[in-house]
């Protein structure tokens, strides 16, 4: 590749890379602004504050011009807490100036976090996601072990039945699932969020592919040594499949953490809301408070973002492996 080509390639990648992160950057900087500044029209990337200052002997005070004159103006002078310390004072215009100052309103985060019970939403989401991931791995390994390593009647049929059900999109079975949950009495309970999701066809598929690659000799050797069927799974198959298990766990966790339509439909009580649903309701309640919405969005995506930064190689490899089928 020539140097010229290289320059163009990197330029395009950098420009588009910026467009990929600009929404996140803008989200974070907007979260640090004050709503007043936004309403005034400061919608750029820098959270600054504009104010009129009165400077005398090197001491700067915030003021508000009440009557502007040619040489001097009548102003109100404020202290740092925003209280008027001197009202209707006449000051010379050359001591008045428009100032800009960087101000980070970190309190937006705590305000958003406490405005609705986000701590509760986080806890709910962590409980649901953890149990789902755990369930998916347990049921998935057992079923995949049977599919990959055992002979039994109806194996192929069952496997293809599973695979074909995987293709059915969620909106299709959402309504009957809702009816089913109603009859089980599970609507508005954690059961509805956890139990239907503790078995995942895609995980079974992934694990089966992996289990099939383990050489038969290992199984024979273990069987001769008197290892039981479950012992082989526990002591040989699973340790050899760590990376696929991690992949399944990543998919399970991200999927469960980000799922929205299902919990939106199944859960009614505010105290049972998971993060995505809570965030969605918050966006309706606080729709005019841009800074709070941005703060809430920021801390909602932060856990997965941190997870991604820590395990980016593994996560990207996991997602990439979904495309290399057959």
């Amino acid at each position: 590749m020539t140097n010229w080509n290289k320059t163009i390639t990197y330029t395009i990648l950098i420009i588009c890379g910026i467009s990929m992160i600009v929404p996140f950057l803008w989200m974070a900087t907007t979260a640090l602004k004050s709503q007043k500044e936004i309403n005034k029209g400061n919608v750029g990337f820098i959270p600054y504050e504009e104010y009129t200052a009165y400077t005398r002997d090197g001491v700067e005070k915030r003021i508000k011009v009440v009557v502007a004159g040619a040489d001097s103006s009548v102003v109100n002078i404020f202290n740092d807490a925003g209280k008027i310390v001197s009202a209707y004072r006449k000051v010379p215009n050359e001591l008045i100036s428009e100032k800009k100052k960087l101000v980070f309103h970190f309190e937006n985060f705590t305000e958003a976090f406490n405005k609705v019970p986000f701590a509760r939403y986080f806890l709910n989401t962590i409980i649901v996601s953890t149990l789902v991931v755990f369930g998916v791995i347990v049921t998935g390994s057992l079923a995949a072990y049977a599919f990959a390593r055992m002979q039994f009647k109806g194996r192929e049929f069952l496997f293809y039945l599973f695979i074909s059900m995987m293709m059915v999109p969620q909106p299709v079975y959402l309504i009957p699932s809702y009816i089913l949950m109603h009859h089980l009495g599970w609507l508005d309970t954690y059961n509805a969020l956890i139990i239907p999701w503790i078995a995942n066809i895609f995980t079974i598929f992934l694990l089966r592919q992996q289990f099939k690659t383990i050489p038969q000799e290992l199984f024979d050797a273990a069987a001769i040594d008197g290892c039981s069927r479950f012992g082989i799974l526990w002591k040989i198959v699973l340790p050899l499949s760590k990376s696929v298990i991690v992949t399944s766990a990543i998919f399970g966790f991200i999927g469960s953490w980000n799922s929205f339509m299902w919990p939106l439909v199944m859960i009614d009580s505010p105290q049972l809301r998971v993060l995505q649903v809570g965030l969605s309701y918050f966006s309706q309640e606080a729709s005019a408070q841009t800074t709070l919405l941005m703060a809430a969005s920021t801390f909602s995506i932060l856990p997965l973002l941190i997870l991604f930064v820590i395990a980016q190689k593994q996560i990207i490899a996991s997602f990439a492996s979904t495309g290399l089928k057959g």
Partner: protein, 340 residues
């Protein structure tokens, strides 16, 4: 040894072991996947609500669908979404995957950057983009203002993008649509909806959807590209084939399985778009004049909104299912024909 054999024989006769291993997964999948799927057919044929089952109404729901203008509008909107998101998303992903494949330094870094939107939740992203699209305090109009372009209505704009483009170029779009609608014997509104393209509101959602999916598609393409043996390119180089020729004669044909996979996945997921519509333009309306109401949003609104008509919503779901099934089958057939 002998005892082993005997146990084996016994196992062969009556070995419930495999079923025991399958049981937990099978119980969950049959109860919460198979039964609902089967039920969805049944529900759509009955007058079913959450309080109980009414009478058998056969195909009445489907008959209603045929004459439901809102349904057809949501079909058209979904169709717009798919025909914009899928090709543009695929081309961009292929383009970036090639760029990433051609560099060595910072490859992993760029890959991670492009991938960030994929792991973040659609809910948070929709909230952020909704504010970015805000007419007064949004980022897009702010940036447009910097380059001297008038602010746009974005999510509040019901006019079609072709209308907006041609009108700003000085074309009398109303007259154009009027003449076409007269010629086609269609109402003005119906012809406008088709001729003007997706509304700017829907187009805003199209942009977001492409942006969100770009990272995943790029990663898949990149994996596909890395699977092409470099000997092909070396041979082509010796034969004097240029970069463009190499791309069209080697890369494109050999990447076609990946293309089919990405095409299928993107199409299926785009048909199911819901969160961004719900969060950015609903509830209850589904965008300005319903121009962002897509099929899954309509289904949700009918089933869980004020109407609470679960059986009608089920009928809509089955239409969606049929479309996805047909598309999958068509793509599978095409894939078989063009397999390398």
């Amino acid at each position: 040894m002998w005892r082993e054999k005997k146990r084996d024989m016994k196992n062969k006769k009556k070995d419930f072991g495999p079923y025991l291993y399958l049981l937990p997964a099978a119980v969950i999948i049959f109860t919460f996947r198979l039964i609902p799927i089967v039920l969805s057919f049944i529900v759509s044929f009955f007058d079913w609500s959450i309080t109980g089952v009414g009478g058998f109404i056969a195909l009445e729901n489907y008959g209603r669908l045929m004459h439901d203008a809102e349904f057809w509008q949501s079909m058209l909107n979904t169709f717009y979404l798919v025909i914009f998101v899928v090709p543009i998303g695929l081309l961009l992903a292929l383009f970036f995957a090639n760029l990433l494949n051609s560099i060595e330094k910072l490859k992993g870094f760029f890959r991670s950057i492009y991938f960030i939107p994929t792991v973040t939740s659609m809910v948070a992203i929709s909230i952020v983009w909704k504010i970015m699209f805000n007419q007064q305090t949004g980022l897009f109009n702010y940036l447009l203002g910097k380059i001297g372009v008038n602010p746009l209505g974005w999510l509040a704009e019901s006019r079609g993008i072709f209308d907006l483009l041609l009108s700003s170029a000085g074309v009398d779009y109303t007259a154009f649509v009027t003449s076409i609608s007269g010629w086609m014997h269609m109402s003005y509104n119906a012809s406008y909806m088709i001729l003007a393209g997706p509304s700017l509101a829907l187009f805003s959602i199209i942009m977001l959807t492409i942006w969100k999916g770009l990272g995943y598609n790029t990663i898949i393409y990149l994996a596909g590209l890395q699977n092409i043996p470099s000997v092909y390119y070396e041979a082509a180089e010796i034969d004097g084939a240029g970069r463009a020729k190499q791309f069209f004669k080697i890369t494109l044909p050999l990447i076609s399985p990946t293309t089919y996979y990405v095409l299928m996945m993107t199409t299926i997921t785009t048909f199911q778009v819901f969160s961004q519509i719900y969060l950015m333009t609903g509830p209850p309306i589904g965008g300005p004049l319903g121009t962002t109401k897509v099929i899954v949003y309509y289904l949700y609104d009918k089933g869980f909104g004020e109407a609470g008509d679960l059986s009608y919503a089920s009928a809509i779901a089955l239409v969606l299912f049929a479309i996805i099934l047909i598309l999958t089958m068509v793509q599978k057939r095409m894939e078989k024909r063009v397999h390398y």
